[in-house]
Symmetry: C2
Subunit: 423 residues, 2 copies
């Protein structure tokens, strides 16, 4: 029986969930995997919390050296969140030859290269299934099941909070602010919801997953990001009418040999399997050149789903005789030229104009001059003004932006209220 010593850095929601799973399943793991996994140290300053979990105070401290210098500790699991001290503690552990399992997407997305260097130095492993889409085993699938494919695209709903909010807006016809407030009251959204609703959380995950999928570093600076805070129920209603569901979609794909990566609100067709991903569920849709479309669906957050991913990484790490790294030291991971400067998709544009003859001609003239081709148009007049909805054929984003800047300058255009990408 192989003994596996584990340290937990932080035993809050996910760390506590992990502690509980490890304790409850210890005998199962002995029997199933011949691994005796024991938590030997916990770094946490919240003694009330460690006591409530029934953790022996003798193994609790706030000093990472108690972990790094303990020869019986093989695997360090980090649950602090944020950049520091998580990053320093992880690097110290890796250099000391301890494998690290982390759920910290922001720190990981920003510091992966440094972490991998430290892991190489310490001959240790670096596991991060829990950083990306919680309980959905997308990291393992990309690493261990897609070898016979070139990945053409990875797309998904990576954030449960925003998907909950959008689903509620769609189903109950409510405005964003109303649903956000409700989500905050229920604990589904943070008091400061920025990381979720502005798309940062999805962006970190997309950075990690697209780096794996394409074998090329996709830093967060290369990802276009736009949140859901400006979405209105009017847009959602029009979308419904045209057969679309609104999602905060993360997309990375190779188009004409260039990589494009973006996170933004997106109208997707109701037939798209991602359209049926409701509430706080997440999903990832992969396209491989041989396997075609594959979708993985599940809980993207929560103590137990994320704990499940952490525990899977612990056992996986404990079973390796030689840890695999992705190979960040190689040149192929860094190639600035391989990113697309622009991208194309369909668009939904809603604007408000003065309702008088000749207005439409002025707007369509601008669109035509910019090679922006209209798929369909709808007009709703009210009080001397009119709402105009344009569905635009696939067009480069740069041309759409240029057109809109020009349209905004037309005297009879009151406002351009929404520009939503359609896929």
């Amino acid at each position: 029986m192989k003994k596996v010593g584990v340290a937990l850095l932080g035993v809050g929601t996910v760390g506590g969930g992990t502690y509980t799973i490890l304790k409850n399943m210890r005998e199962t793991f002995k029997e199933k995997y011949q691994l005796d996994i024991e938590v030997l140290h916990v770094i946490d300053k919240n003694i009330k919390r460690t006591n409530e979990l029934g953790i022996d105070p003798k193994i609790v401290s706030t000093d990472i050296d108690n972990v790094v210098n303990n020869k019986d500790i093989d695997i360090v699991c980090e649950f602090f969140g944020g950049i520091e001290p998580a990053k320093s503690f992880i690097i110290k552990s890796l250099k000391a030859g301890k494998s690290v399992v982390t759920a910290n997407k922001e720190m990981f997305a920003k510091s992966w290269l440094e972490l991998e260097k430290a892991a190489k130095e310490g001959n240790s492993g670096l596991y991060f299934e829990a950083t990306s889409v919680g309980g959905v085993p997308i990291v393992r699938v990309l690493n261990e099941s897609m070898q016979g494919n070139e990945i053409l695209s990875i797309q998904g709903i990576f954030n449960g909070t925003t998907n909950y909010i959008l689903s509620k807006m769609i189903d109950d016809g409510l405005e964003y602010e109303t649903v956000l407030k409700e989500a905050q009251d229920l604990g589904y959204a943070e008091a400061d919801p920025t990381a979720d609703v502005e798309g940062y959380d999805s962006m970190y995950k997309l950075s990690i997953l697209s780096t794996l999928a394409f074998g090329k570093r996709v830093p967060i600076e290369k990802i276009y990001r736009e949140g859901i805070t400006k979405i209105t129920k009017v847009d959602i209603e029009y979308g419904k009418k045209f057969g679309y569901t609104l999602k905060l979609l993360a997309t990375a794909q190779i188009v004409d040999g260039k990589l494009e990566a973006r996170v933004h609100p997106t109208f997707i067709k109701n037939q798209n399997p991602l359209a049926s991903v409701k509430g706080s569920f997440n999903a990832v849709l992969l396209k491989g050149d041989n396997v075609g479309d594959i979708m993985l669906y599940g809980r993207g957050a929560g103590a137990l789903p994320t704990g499940s991913a952490i525990v899977s990484d612990i056992i996986y790490a404990a079973q390796q005789t030689k840890h695999k790294l992705i190979g960040f030291s190689e040149d192929k991971f860094f190639d600035d030229d391989s990113f697309a400067k622009d991208f194309s998709c369909e668009y939904f544009i809603r604007m408000n104009v003065v309702d008088k003859p000749g207005v439409l001609a002025k707007i369509t003239k601008v669109l035509g001059e910019n090679n922006v081709s209209i798929n369909s148009m709808e007009q709703t007049a009210q009080d001397g003004n009119a709402d105009l909805i344009f569905m635009i054929h696939k067009t480069p984003e740069s041309l759409v932006k240029k057109s809109i800047a020009e349209i905004k300058k037309i005297d009879v255009v009151n406002s351009v209220d929404s520009v939503i990408r359609v896929m």
Copy 2:
């Protein structure tokens, strides 16, 4: 660079697809995995086929000894299908220390124990991702991503042909025979469709996957099996009316400590994520005690999706320093008492009766005496007869069967046309 010698037993559709992927991606695999994978021998008697694939005639034969005695061959991939000679060839290869990768679900489901014994003897690996749900990496996910869970249930649409037929019947309002004929003409269904439409194919996959999920041998004899050949468009229309979609669903779950496994046509609620799996797509829905619901969705068949699974297994096998087996020699895999003798679900029952007073009373009396409780009832009269549709609350199958046997004996009952389980 590690050299990996591969033998292919059969280069028909999937074997040929695998040969093509291995050839086209050879340089990629060298670069990405430091593995130089080369096909060193092909067993196939169809010389026309091997020539068309551009395989050097010098490495083609029909003698398995050319594989077994070739020390440079590390991995044997089997694509024959059927029981023999696939089984003998695989056992011979395993005993000779060669790892085996197979897509042969029937042989694997029936002979897993013998194969694992041979693998143990030869210290070789046994890989079978491609047996179950083609390109969907469910075997790897069960083995490498669910360690922190007790699996509570595994459920899915495991057969593309039947899902295509049922989807067509639902969308176009056609009868089974019409759609089957069309599917055969298009090459989506075999000339002899029995293995698909009678549920054998799904049963083999369920046997393999539930054995993995529950760590307990689930032989095909323990799986209740019923095909889709008796499904009519009338049933499908009634299902639609009640908010259900009809699927050939495979289910294995633990209920009250007992394992039940079954494959049969099932009405599932439209909100169930499996309901949106259309056409030839497949899906697997897992429930873990910690991770909750996870769904994997993708192509269950076809040369390239299945080839993708095979190639993934080849690379995975080549990277192992010690092959893991599931441990069939252990007692825990064999426990006849742990299977449920009966199971409970909701039911849809359609019967035709003589339309006269007192008929309903006779039928509901039988149901009541057997503790079968009616959720809703609908009646459509025509030409002196009437169709009766009962939706039945969750009830043990044994009681439903007993009731139906009694109802059939009532003189005013013309026929009991359909009994469909509802989940």
